[in-house]
């Protein structure tokens, strides 16, 4: 029994290194997809202290809008632009209708409000665009090829590359533009940012729009992979362990957390899953994150929690 759990899986790994490498790489690529979703959470949490549960539904909503527009014969580039416009309008509405009235409330109240928001968005998206499964095809190549005996998929590589591009663009945006500096200031300290004249309301709209765009990218990737449908919003539940593992406030944390969870999940599923009856991916990520948290309560890259009386 113990041998099966503790030794045999490692012998398997050593026995066929090519297969193991394949598992790890596919785990890394899935991890990138998790990171894309987690990134949206981090952006909003950093700038406004809101733990936005609706991010998953925003991913769904963006994908639904894009598919809906394309089904009506709008060309891809125009549909993309329109979807970004819709997400921005959405951010504006959310700030106006919801956030503005909930300033200074406790975190849990804001969290519950975003769960309410996720119901609203889900209902709205499905009322507007229908609830049947849709295929999303924006022309991402999807062919498999081999490098050094390891099977790879062009689509996964494309996803990883666009994730990397997105993170780079965000990093540049945050570090070298005026708005980016303002965003970092707000993330650092609301009060201080307000007192040097940074308009919080605008910042929130910008952050929610950026999160919407990140959601759109995630929606395109996940939608192209597994179809656009309600279950797409449940990847938020996959992003949560990534989030606590990396730390709520850290963009690099979201990336590294996503990679760790992606690899850990794949490896555990393939080498240990059969021993306990399979389907462990529903909870494994949470247990992994929990194990990390016991040693670092603020996540790997989160801000150190300093408590004073």
């Amino acid at each position: 029994m113990l041998y099966n759990f503790l030794i045999a899986p490692f012998l398997d790994m050593a026995g066929s290194p090519v297969f193991f490498a394949e598992v790890v790489i596919s785990g890394l690529l899935t991890g990138v997809m998790y990171s894309l979703v987690a990134l949206g959470f981090v952006l909003i949490f950093k700038a406004s202290g809101v733990f936005n549960f609706a991010q998953g539904v925003m991913v769904l909503f963006a994908a639904l809008t894009l598919v809906g527009l394309m089904e009506r014969g709008v060309p891809v580039w125009l549909a993309l632009i329109l979807t970004v416009a819709v997400m921005t309008a959405l951010a504006f509405a959310i700030e106006r209708i919801m956030l503005r009235h909930l300033v200074n409330q406790e975190g849990i109240i804001l969290f519950m409000a975003t769960i309410g928001l996720s119901y609203v968005l889900q209902g709205l998206g499905e009322t507007l665009w229908g609830s049947n499964v849709k295929r999303l095809d924006v022309g991402i190549p999807n062919a498999s090829f081999e490098i050094g005996g390891i099977l790879l998929n062009e689509f996964d590589l494309f996803a990883a590359a666009s994730g990397a591009v997105l993170v780079t663009v965000l990093a540049v945006f945050f570090h070298y533009t005026r708005i980016g500096r303002a965003l970092r200031a707000v993330a650092d300290d609301h009060q201080a940012a307000l007192s040097v004249g940074i308009p919080l309301k605008h910042i929130w709209i910008i952050v929610w729009s950026v999160a919407g765009v990140v959601g759109l990218v995630a929606g395109i990737m996940w939608g192209a992979k597994s179809g656009v449908q309600f279950s797409l919003s449940l990847i938020a539940l996959k992003a949560l362990p990534v989030l606590i593992l990396g730390g709520f406030t850290s963009v690099p944390g979201a990336i590294v957390g996503g990679l760790i969870i992606g690899v850990g999940e794949k490896v555990a599923e393939i080498y240990w899953g059969p021993l306990v009856g399979g389907a462990i991916e529903t909870w494994f990520a949470y247990m992994l994150a929990l194990a990390f948290l016991v040693f670092r309560p603020q996540g790997l890259f989160g801000e150190r929690i300093i408590e004073r009386v």
């Binding site: 733990f51 209708i97 919801m98 009235h101 909930l102 409330q105 406790e106 975190g107 849990i108 109240i109 969290f111 519950m112 409000a113 769960i115 309410g116 928001l117 996720s118 119901y119 609203v120 968005l121 889900q122 209902g123 709205l124 499905e126 009322t127 609830s131 539940l237 949560l240 362990p241 989030l243 606590i244 709520f248 306990v276 009856g277 389907a279 462990i280 529903t282 909870w283 949470y286 247990m287 994150a289 929990l290 948290l293 016991v294 309560p297 603020q298 996540g299 929690i305 408590e307 004073r308 009386v309």
Partner: protein, 357 residues
Amino acid sequence: MIYREAGQFKTSYAGDQRVFPILQDRWCVAAAILFAYAIPLLANEYWLQAVLIPFLIFALAAIGLNLLTGYCGQVSLGTGGFMAVGGYMTYKITTNIPDINIIVVFLIAGLCAALVGLVFGLPSLRIKGFYLAVATLAAQFFIGWILNKVGWFYNYNASGTITAPPREMFGIVVTGPHASAEVRYLVALSLVIVFALVAKNLVRGKVGRAWMAIRDKDIAAEIIGIRPLQTKLLAFTISSFYCGVAGAMTVFLWLGSAETEAFDIFLSFNILFMVIIGGLGSILGSFLGAAFITLVPVFLTNAPLMIGLSMPIDMQKHIEVMLFGSLIIFFLIVEPNGLARLWQITKEKLRLWPFPY
């Protein structure tokens, strides 16, 4: 209120520390309980089965979560998991040892859930806030998975469903397909009343005060001599016990049969909604919140029919979801402290009414 506490003098410490210090409050509670027992004479099967029984069960679970989140300040999203433990353990125990009184089985199953809650409460000492909330999701998913995978829990039957067997109390069938809705309602009501009073008592005494100190600032509480480990774990244990009993009632007094999907994450969210909409740190609030969350969907489903509006069924479902979400946001904006706070404000206003100056 129309009545005041003026003229009611406390002449003993016991009188000063009563659960309901004002005479009229005691009358109101007694009247409410009497009315609740009289309801089966008025209500029909549909109301009992679709509204009142789930209301009682959710109220019990909400009280449990409120003890943990509202009083001790530990946000938990694992409620559904703990309820599932209660439901499955009741099934396991009562099918293997049919002679034990079903209420006793409920309590034993509650203790099992409490034990599980204790284990998943352990990280709370190190992990705080949203990190803890997400970490408790581990409980939710892990429990759901293990109850599905390990056949022992559902006696290795092919479908993986647990079904409430018929059990009698004092010669009356209480559970199973032949138990009448009235009997199930009365059993649920009695359990909820007892547990609500216990909870009310608990939060008024030493334990409740320790919880509230931990909630307000755990380091400060530690400095004045409250042990965080014991206090937090006690909150997790008692809260999961309540949730476990509520889960047992869900299967045995309400649904009749269930799978782990009945206890999914959306149930956890709903119960957290009840606690927050009702009011954090208020037993009355748990009831109000449970009533709100149970009644709103019933109302939303029936409202289009009442005004003679007909639309495709899936469209109606989407609009229902949307309205439910907007109502929640609306209530959070209007009164973030919940319905219990609204009730308190009303009482204070009425005290001065009709001469507010």
